[in-house]
Point group: C2
């Protein structure tokens, strides 16, 4: 591998001079500049980014931390950040967090590796935050907040209310909630906030919250189980609000497998408005995912440039998108028949 020393030798100059022409310093005579550039091209020299980073203290890359970054909602956020980053000359280091240990390691492993951090859904703990601050690494949060960090979020509580208000307006009275589990890996308190909105909407309608209608599961898993359980109740719900489209889509599948028709027999509302939701015809609370990425990236880029951030805590609007999975409650009110139930048992077996 050709190094700067090799180039310097070949061009008959000092390494400092080579460094200067590479970095576009003006203090170089046109003649030497030309000669050095010639040698660089000839040798196909490319400066070692690691050495450069160590020397300058700048890595020219930003880290993006996200739990399960291949989830559709995260990807749609990334669709917003990638172009901005690419345009700014920063490299994108993606840290996928899929376990508690990875979450633990994520923030510390990035110190000295990145100039800035974009953290989706999860936020650094106090210790990491201090380290990050000491290292001068700006952090921007997407889908979570922190008293001392810029963030771009959405009003999840209001979103939850929107979803349930829609169901209430259709005439539903027994409305279930399917939430994502909140653990240290996912850290999705968004699900919890949406549940708060769910409860608030019910309360505002004068309806008592019924705990047997609230089901919390790891995201995307156990939907069949949830549905089976809910529909097995003496007074089964006629509709469900899922804290994410992923969850909602899984519920939709499970309900359909049970032989119920959506929305005639059962209504489903999701959250996010992921691309899939459109194809599935899912009624959902839409949040501008790509925009959240763009905004987050912009905030980070500003911090990186040392600019003042005028509005460090940005809120994005929510919108209810009514499609084909919600309707007034149908005639079916009792528990589902045994044949349908046996279908579930088969499935989970």
């Amino acid at each position: 591998v050709t190094t700067i020393a090799r180039v310097a030798q070949e061009a008959g100059v000092g390494v400092g001079t080579v460094s200067r022409v590479i970095n576009g310093s003006t203090a170089v005579s046109e003649a030497t500049r030309r000669r050095v550039l010639e040698v660089v091209a000839e040798l196909g020299y490319e400066p070692n980014a690691t050495a450069r980073a160590l020397s300058t203290g700048r890595t020219r890359s930003v880290g993006v931390i996200a739990p399960f970054f291949t989830r559709p909602s995260v990807i749609e956020r990334l669709r917003g950040v990638a172009p901005l980053l690419a345009g700014s000359g920063y490299q994108l280091i993606l840290i996928d967090v899929e376990s508690a240990e990875q979450r633990e390691a994520a923030f510390r492993s990035l110190i000295g590796r990145v100039d800035g951090l974009l953290s989706v859904t999860i936020a650094p703990g106090p210790a990491d935050l201090e380290r990050l601050a000491a290292a001068g690494v700006p952090v921007v949060l997407i889908d979570s907040t922190h008293p001392r960090l810029p963030s771009v979020t959405v009003d999840d509580v209001a979103g939850g209310r929107m979803a349930v208000d829609h169901l209430l307006a259709l005439g539903h009275r027994r409305i279930a909630f399917a939430g994502d589990i909140v653990d240290e890996v996912h850290g999705s308190s968004a699900s919890r906030r949406r549940c708060t909105g769910y409860r608030a909407a019910l309360a505002a309608a004068g309806l008592a919250a019924r705990e047997e209608l609230v089901a919390i599961r790891p995201h995307g898993h156990g939907a069949a189980e949830i549905v089976e359980q809910l529909l097995g109740l003496d007074e089964p719900p006629t509709a469900i609000f899922a804290a994410s489209d992923q969850q909602a889509l899984a519920v939709l599948d499970a309900v359909t497998d049970l032989g119920l028709r959506v929305p005639e027999d059962f209504s489903v509302v999701g959250f996010d408005d992921v691309e899939l939701a459109r194809y599935a015809g899912l009624t959902t609370v839409a949040q501008p995912l790509a925009v959240s990425g763009t905004r987050g990236a912009k905030l980070l880029l500003s911090s990186l440039e040392g600019s003042e951030i005028p509005t460090p805590r940005q809120h994005l609007p929510l919108e209810l998108v009514v499609r084909d999975t919600t309707a007034p409650p149908g005639s079916r009110t009792g528990p589902i028949e045994s044949t349908a139930r046996s279908a579930v048992v088969e499935r989970s077996g």
Copy 2:
């Protein structure tokens, strides 16, 4: 920020000793080991990855290069690689290529930044390849091949044949092809190979290829235009094979917007079997995307460990998945009516 020197000073030892305990060298007395570890914890010391990389020549990270990595098909491939990489302790550096310049810079920018490279769809050029080889950076290709590089691919030509054979078996005779444009950014010769399969299937059926039925466009764009053009022909096609699900889905939308019913009036076959395809009920040629990522990652990890790679060129199986967008050709044979056409004009205006 605390450095190794600070820790050494605080612990009253040399930096070499600190380094040794951090790296688990056995040649350290239990007493000093304990003391150093104490100081490390107390100061919250984390070794600087950049300095470490420069010193050892190993970055402990691998680069993944992909054009438009947020495309569903690429994401599904990444779903295969992320867990493997995370499990191996390698960091994932993602290089999104969205322009010719980025493609140009992608490979060279990674030298000295990564220990290995996973390249999706695009392959390094001769110059980059040489540099990579000189730097000792192993490269593995996914969805493309190179005489000197390990790769995991699929038989696109055969896939194209499968799609068209299906359409032929249904009775279609005028079958169009919608391909992704092949440029230096995307470099998707997959589309071209699938077109080869398309032609081969037609030829095998004794049908002449009609060039006016072959449309090549940038992926995901211009589907409406393609459809309008095709259906405006004197002898319009009754079916289309799209080189990707993304393309197929766009075609589907365009056809539906024209007031045609799918599959009664028009059949559509895609390629990939992306998650969306299932929800859209798209008939498609399924390729194991996640598996391609897993295999690629495995190959790379093996190279990184210096192991011999038994089968450097892996082929994954293809499978036709028949869903709701294909059926025997219906009665509609003439050009579409003017009312329907005006709808298109509106749309593109």
